[in-house]
Amino acid sequence: GAGVSQSPSNKVTEKGKDVELRCDPISGHTALYWYRQSLGQGLEFLIYFQGNSAPDKSGLPSDRFSAERTGGSVSTLTIQRTQQEDSAVYLCASSLRLGYEQYFGPGTRLTVT
């Protein structure tokens, strides 16, 4: 079946602009996660959604970052007033339920100039 998809695959934006990154999880997966990976670094947890529960936003680095998940499926990560340090690959993952393996999408490479 289809895996996790993300769009766009690449995004170049100017400092100060807002960007929206989209994630389509695997159908039927109740949990959805966003991570950030800077060049040569590990995966930094940003936020996760589980079913209809309130999301865990504890990893969001600043109030410029927000995310929503509509209808328990598609999720959008929004970064307002982008800064150069926001440049990274943003990865989305989904899992069938808590405690199960996570399936990652191909990521969105964000470059802030």
């Binding site: 996790v4 949990a31 996660y33 991570y35 670094q41 590990g42 995966l43 930094e44 947890f45 996760y48 589980q50 865990d56 504890s58 990893g59 990865l91 899992s95 808590l98 405690g99 199960y100 393996e101 996570q102 399936y103 990652f104 999408g105 191909p106 990521g107």
Partner: protein
């Protein structure tokens, strides 16, 4: 809070064995292992849960020492396809089954012919 992985990098010849370690300063509920090839998304390898339960691929073996807050991934008879960066993700025991993973900085494994 971020788990420490060792070694940072290892080079093997095909057929050789390797062990990758992951240590945390916190009591752990679970440890997850993923492999990421260059330019690709991380791929699930193994989950080890407090209490001894494991979920993962048959050809991968790992251990989880709850007392020492450590996990080790064992790669035996390595193949060229094993090359990549290995990440452990730890879930601390305070929150129970949150599946909020804090990833280590990774271990780069290169298998040569």
């Amino acid at each position: 809070q971020q788990p420490v992985q060792s070694p940072q990098a290892v080079i093997l010849r095909e057929g050789e064995d390797a062990v990758i370690n992951c240590s945390s300063s916190k009591a752990l509920y679970s440890v997850h292992w993923y492999r990421q090839k260059h330019g690709e998304a991380p791929v699930f390898l193994m989950i080890l849960l407090k209490g001894g339960e494991q979920k993962g691929h048959e050809k991968i073996s790992a251990s989880f020492n709850e007392k020492k807050q450590q996990s080790s991934l064992y790669l035996t008879a390595s193949q060229l396809s094993y090359s990549g960066t290995y990440f452990c993700g730890t879930e601390d025991s305070y929150g129970g089954a949150t599946n909020k993973l804090i990833f280590g900085t990774g271990t780069l494994l290169a298998v040569q012919p």
